[in-house]
């Protein structure tokens, strides 16, 4: 029942870094900003590793970007992924281009499953997984989660949240949707995007970090894949949203109640 899994590892701004827009609105200020692996992709990598640990197979991690994206690939390799692929591209990207590049990679690698974070925390577009599934004609399950909580024994034991059928040909996925949890079954090959509560990603161990240095990290020019690389979704201008006016501290519940009733008039 071995599974070959392709998983994404996008380099994004660390959410703890203050994101500021440049005065001319042409981009964000990058000085002093730290970068990390997209947290949702980290969950996807973790899920890929759990599936491999449970069923055997191979985990190939891919990123699209420049030199610096190698850091995020090495981080995923240090967690336990087997091989990395950098699709080298220094220009702007959008979900149309990213999904087209990933579709080419899928053609080459022929995985049984593609796992991605549901969205990247920089553009928050939440589209790539769905686009990719459409391009491939594969079933999709977005916002994958599980019913076991992150404090449960199943989670401590690093059991996969996504369940492989006994015949190895389908996956059962629980999804977080408006109103509750939906369960779907997908025939392989499939695309799954991962949500917050699917798992708690492991920290890379020191031996893992050392091993990662020797793992294969292929460097492929994105331009060599025969995909139109010009983004179709282009940011024309950026601005900071209007800031809220500062508020006041109230001394006690009585004061809060009066202000809400008489000043804010929201009761």
């Amino acid at each position: 029942m071995a599974l070959k899994i392709l998983v994404t590892a996008k380099r994004v701004e660390d959410p703890e870094s203050k994101i500021r827009v440049k005065p001319d609105g042409s981009g964000i200020v990058t000085d002093g900003v730290n970068y990390k692996l997209n947290p949702f992709d980290e969950i996807a990598v973790e899920e890929a590793l759990r599936l491999k640990e449970a069923h055997g197979g191979e985990v190939v991690v891919a990123s699209i970007g420049g030199d610096k994206s190698q850091t995020e690939l090495r981080a995923a390799l240090a967690m336990g992924a087997d091989r990395g692929v950098l699709l080298r591209h220094d220009g702007a990207l959008d979900p149309v281009v990213v999904s087209a590049l990933l579709a080419k990679l899928v053609e080459q690698e022929k995985p049984d499953l593609v796992l991605l974070g549901k969205q990247s925390i920089d553009d928050d577009q939440n589209q790539v997984g769905q686009y990719l599934a459409a391009r491939l004609g594969w079933p999709q399950a977005t916002f994958a989660s599980k019913t076991d909580s992150l404090e449960s024994e199943a989670e401590q034991k690093k059991q996969p949240g996504v369940k492989l059928a006994a015949d190895g040909k389908a996956l059962t996925v629980v999804r977080e949707v408006d109103g509750g949890l939906e369960t779907l079954e997908l025939s392989l090959p499939a695309v799954i995007t991962c949500d917050l509560r699917l798992n708690k990603p492991r920290f890379a161990s020191l031996p893992g970090i050392m091993k990662a240095k020797k793992k294969e990290l292929k460097d492929v020019p994105a331009a060599s894949l025969g995909v139109e690389l010009a983004p179709r979704v282009v940011v024309k201008a950026l601005a900071e949203p209007p800031k809220r006016k500062g508020g006041v501290k109230v001394a006690d519940v009585e004061e809060l109640f009066r202000k809400l009733r008489d000043e804010a008039k929201v009761l």
Binding site: P139, G247, V253
Partner: protein, 321 residues
């Protein structure tokens, strides 16, 4: 190709409020681009909501078929794409609900359409209309241009007013659905619904949310919400701990709410949580920690133990003051 197609959602026979905001957005967009508004409704046994949708004056394309009963993206996306082509839509959108976010990007790909997620507003006219949307957890607002022939989008329901009825009813078009349910590679297994008597989080006038500071006991939070006839929300920490359902999470990747009053109790105010509630008209924070970041966005901040402060406030609200 300047018509606008809005996909509408229904639940148990009633059109969702989020979709009414999407229809409102669609109307505005249709005016900006000089096109007609069309609506699409997909599902099974949806004759009643389809008829109700005629009130908005736009042609309603109804795809009523067993394969569409559970909103599976694999089945819905090609049907939606077909309706978009049939209605001459250059713009295809819907509300940024979990269903909208699941289905629309797949339909967009089938239409070779670039897409903007969670649009807050439109800017400009004609083919040059820009989509304004949040990035970096709402710390940045971006104006985005899409260059494909067909453009797709989802809207944030709290940012658009619900459409009101039109003067003359729209036409109803039954769409022939050619989906072979047996050939689908996705199978619906179950839906564990969180049922509540309370108003829906994204529609409520008042939201009272609890976080780590509740230590798992949401009763004070729920009691205040009920006294104010509001909804109950939660921080990620509370949901991760298994104290409350995922459906209650407010935040960057949970629900985005913009109520008149938002009470954050025992919530520290992480960026990701703020992204989901900083559009509220009035924000109240109750937290034992005077340094909690939530106080920076709160209009009224009370440094106190929520287990005492919330019941006290609930009592005053009930007493009418």
């Amino acid at each position: 190709m300047s018509n606008v197609l809005i996909v509408v959602e229904q639940h148990a026979g009633t059109v969702k409020k989020a979709s009414l905001a999407a229809i409102g957005a669609g109307r505005e967009l249709a005016a900006r681009v000089g096109g007609e508004l069309h609506l699409a409704l997909l599902g099974q046994g949806i004759a009643a909501p389809a008829e109700a949708l005629r009130a908005y004056g736009a042609t309603v394309h109804v795809a009523d078929h067993p394969a569409l009963a559970h909103g599976l993206a694999e089945a819905a996306a090609p049907v939606l794409a077909a309706i978009a082509r049939a209605s001459g839509a250059g713009w295809v959108g819907g509300a940024a609900t979990s269903s909208g976010k699941d289905v629309l990007p797949r339909a967009a790909a089938l239409l070779e359409a670039g897409m903007a997620t969670e649009v807050l507003a439109f800017a400009g006219e004609g083919a040059a209309v820009l989509f304004r949307r949040p990035m970096w957890a709402g710390n940045v607002v971006a104006d985005v241009e899409i260059s494909t022939a067909v453009k797709a989008f989802t809207i944030r329901p709290t940012e658009f007013a619900a459409a009101g009825p039109a003067v003359a009813p729209g036409a109803l078009v039954q769409v022939a659905v050619g989906v072979d349910a047996a050939a689908l590679k996705t199978r619906f297994v179950a839906f564990a619904e969180v049922k509540s008597e309370r108003p829906e989080l994204t529609e409520a006038r008042v939201v009272v949310s609890g976080g780590r500071g509740t230590k798992g006991d949401f009763k004070p939070v729920e009691a205040l919400a009920d006294a104010l006839k509001g909804a109950v929300g939660a921080s990620r920490a509370a949901v991760d701990a298994g104290w409350v359902p995922n459906d209650w999470q407010v935040g960057q990747t949970g629900k985005v709410v913009a109520p008149e009053l938002y009470v954050a109790a025992g919530i520290s105010g992480a960026i990701q949580h703020l992204a989901g509630m900083k559009g509220a008209k009035v924000i109240v924070a109750v937290n034992k920690d005077p340094e909690a970041p939530i106080f920076a966005v709160a209009d009224y901040g009370l440094v106190a133990d929520l287990t005492k402060a919330l019941p006290e406030l609930t009592a005053k609200v009930k007493a009418g003051g």
